[in-house]
């Protein structure tokens, strides 16, 4: 049972964590993220990194699709732009990772901006098609522009480094990825406390009224595209450092759908939802792998079924959540929390 505090000032009222309970839990979370790599085995570390990358990209897509209402099928392509940027820069210039990652984000943002341009004329689903076109072109460029992208072979790169420290192991990568993921989410959280975030939501809810109330639609849609792609670019850059090889097949269209699914399953227009969705969607295949491994002794051809089962599960999650729980995991989480807040007085 928790009692609300009376807020003293507007500054306090507008803070992200308005109660000490919230601050407490956030500190616990940060502490947990810090301790986790010390206790985790290599497999868990690997998963932690994957989830971290997915959180960044999902948060980016959530900004665009969940908060601005612009559906994108190009997220994987934008990640690819970031990944290739990092791979190329680190091989050809030897720049340290803070700079390569920043440039990866900016490069992807520039591409995202271009892809958003048709929103000058079209909206809604037509725009989704434009993003689809973008992902087709990007894939084509990744595969065909051999002098830069290495063609179908792709590019391999050295581990991230800074001041003589190299991030080779998953353990080291964890400390690169997770803090960035936390930052990415906090920045997004800030965004939606300010005029720009409000403008995004207004465009999603009622674009025409928003325009009449003083929001230039094109500018804000492009901004949302660019920002979302920036997130994707950084995530893609981390992806490159994590796997240290980038090929056109690393960023298929199904990956864009994966991120869309993460946003939906987590809860569109909800940052916490994005995190939950990213983690959930990353872990589902892993859980399935474990299950398959467990079943193989009894059903020797279980592994054959794994990849199709995954497709079915992804699809079913998208459909199921949209029909039965459109606000996603975030809503489920809220209900659980409410239950404990009121417990034991009401249930």
């Amino acid at each position: 049972m928790r009692i609300g505090d009376a807020k003293q000032t507007y500054v306090a009222d507008e803070a992200i964590w308005t109660t000490s309970t919230q601050k407490f839990w956030f500190s616990i979370l940060l502490l947990g993220l810090l301790i986790f790599p010390l206790l985790a085995n290599s497999y868990l570390l690997y998963l932690g990194c994957l989830v971290g990358i997915a959180v960044i990209s999902t948060t980016g897509l959530n900004i665009l699709t969940g908060f601005t209402g612009l559906i994108s099928l190009g997220q994987a392509g934008f990640m690819g732009v970031g990944a290739y940027t990092v791979a190329w820069l680190s091989t050809n210039t030897g720049l340290p990772f803070p700079i390569t990652l920043l440039l990866a984000g900016l490069m992807a943002a520039a591409v995202g901006f271009l892809v958003g341009l048709p929103s000058l004329r079209v909206k809604g689903l037509y725009l989704a098609i434009a993003t689809l076109a973008a992902s087709v072109f990007l894939h084509f460029i990744f595969a065909e522009w051999e002098s830069v992208t290495g063609g179908m072979e792709g590019l391999s790169l050295e581990p991230a480094h800074l001041f003589g420290v190299t991030f080779r192991s998953d353990f080291a990568m964890y400390f690169l990825i997770v803090p960035l993921a936390v930052l990415a989410v906090l920045a997004a959280r800030n965004l939606f406390r300010t005029r720009i975030g409000r403008a995004f939501i207004a465009i999603r809810d009622r674009d025409i009224s928003a325009e009449i109330l003083g929001i230039p639609l094109l500018r804000y849609k492009l901004m949302s595209f660019a920002l979302s792609s920036f997130y994707a670019g950084v995530a893609g850059g981390l992806f490159a450092y994590f796997y240290r090889v980038v090929t056109p097949e690393s960023f298929p269209l199904t990956m864009s759908i994966f991120y869309l699914a993460a946003v939906i399953v987590g809860g569109m227009g909800n940052l916490l939802g994005g995190i939950l969705g990213a983690a959930f969607m990353t872990l589902v295949p892993e859980a399935l792998k474990l299950l398959t491994a467990a079943l193989t002794p009894f059903f020797p051809n279980a592994p054959v079924f794994m990849s199709p089962m995954l497709e079915i599960i992804f699809g079913a999650l998208i459909v199921g959540f949209l029909i039965f729980e459109p606000h996603g995991l975030a809503e489920i989480w809220r209900r659980v929390r409410r239950f404990f807040h009121l417990w034991p007085f009401r249930s």
């Binding site: 559906i71 809604g124 689903l125 037509y126 689809l132 009449i212 990849s307 995954l310 699809g315 998208i318």
Partner: protein
């Protein structure tokens, strides 16, 4: 330039375009009636083609039985999808509905792979085999006869929608749902029928395309080409579906033959990009006026 080659390629492309037109027609029927953009249309085609494979290949039925059965199966699938997964989304945002169809596509791919494995398959051949010459131009028989069957179905469709009761109900619903409802048209039934008929057209095309090009769980990619067709033609325009279908089919084949297979998609998507910028609602589509 080798004009003979160009002519033959173009002919094959136009024939393929005819099938695209048929699929696009199915897409537009669904869109016009229900305002749903069906990202799963390629997968519905694929499903029907696999059904044909099962009936004609596995169960060794005659093509005269297997084709209609598979087509009915595809149509039924469309009806079931509408009833169980699209109808509950009535009134939700178009984006959400589109994502449901994306989810459906993923489910269908998984199912097909589960049942028929991920390996590419050849359909038992059921079309006549004597080569077809138009003037001096050779056309592969599978493509030629596929085209003829596709066109026959297409013409039946057009006549049906022009003259039958069902067609009138569908067009009425498309132009004004509320008015159609108030005139006693069972709008829900129309929605369902649109999915059934749309999927039926797609299924016919699916079997014909698979008969020439083979079948695998990636077959649904063809849905992307269809998407290009309907955007270029205009989502709600049957004429647009026909014209753009033929054009895109031609372009894709020519680009593939002259530049290489990897250029097929970029070529058509380049057309799409141009259309989006200069004629966003397609060559023949209508732009809905918005109100506050």
């Amino acid at each position: 330039m080798d004009w003979l080659f160009f002519g033959e390629i173009s002919l094959a492309g136009l024939a393929m375009g005819g099938l695209y037109a048929l699929i696009a027609l199915g897409f537009v029927i669904i869109y016009k009636a229900t305002r749903v953009i069906n990202f799963a249309i390629g997968e519905i085609m694929m499903f029907a083609a696999y059904l044909f494979l099962a009936f004609a290949g596995g169960m060794e039925m005659s093509p005269w039985v297997a084709v209609p059965l598979a087509v009915l199966g595809g149509a039924l699938l469309g009806g079931v999808i509408e009833k169980t997964m699209i109808r509950p989304m009535l009134g939700e945002s178009p984006i959400a509905v589109v994502m449901v169809t994306i989810g459906i596509a993923s489910i269908l791919v998984g199912l097909v792979e589960l049942i028929w494995t991920a390996d590419p398959q050849l359909l038992p051949s059921f079309l006549p085999r004597q080569p077809v010459f138009i003037g001096e131009l050779y056309l592969a028989p599978k493509i030629a006869y596929g085209f003829l069957i596709g066109m026959a179905v297409l013409v039946i469709y057009l006549l049906y929608f022009r003259f039958s009761r069902g067609g009138v109900a569908l067009r009425a619903t498309a132009s004004d749902q509320a008015a159609a409802y108030s005139m006693g048209i069972n709008v829900r039934r129309v929605f369902n029928l649109a999915w059934v008929f749309g999927s039926l057209a797609a299924s016919v095309a699916g079997i014909l395309v698979a008969a020439t090009g083979g079948l695998s769980p990636q077959f649904g990619i063809i849905g992307l080409s269809v998407l290009v067709v309907v955007i270029v033609g205009g989502l709600d325009s049957i004429l647009g579906a026909l014209v753009a279908g033929v054009f895109i089919g031609w372009l894709e084949t020519v680009a593939g033959a002259y530049l290489g297979g990897e250029y097929r998609m970029p070529a058509t998507f380049a057309v799409l990009a141009v259309i989006l910028v200069f004629k966003p609602y397609g060559l023949f589509g209508t732009h809905e006026i918005e109100r506050v």
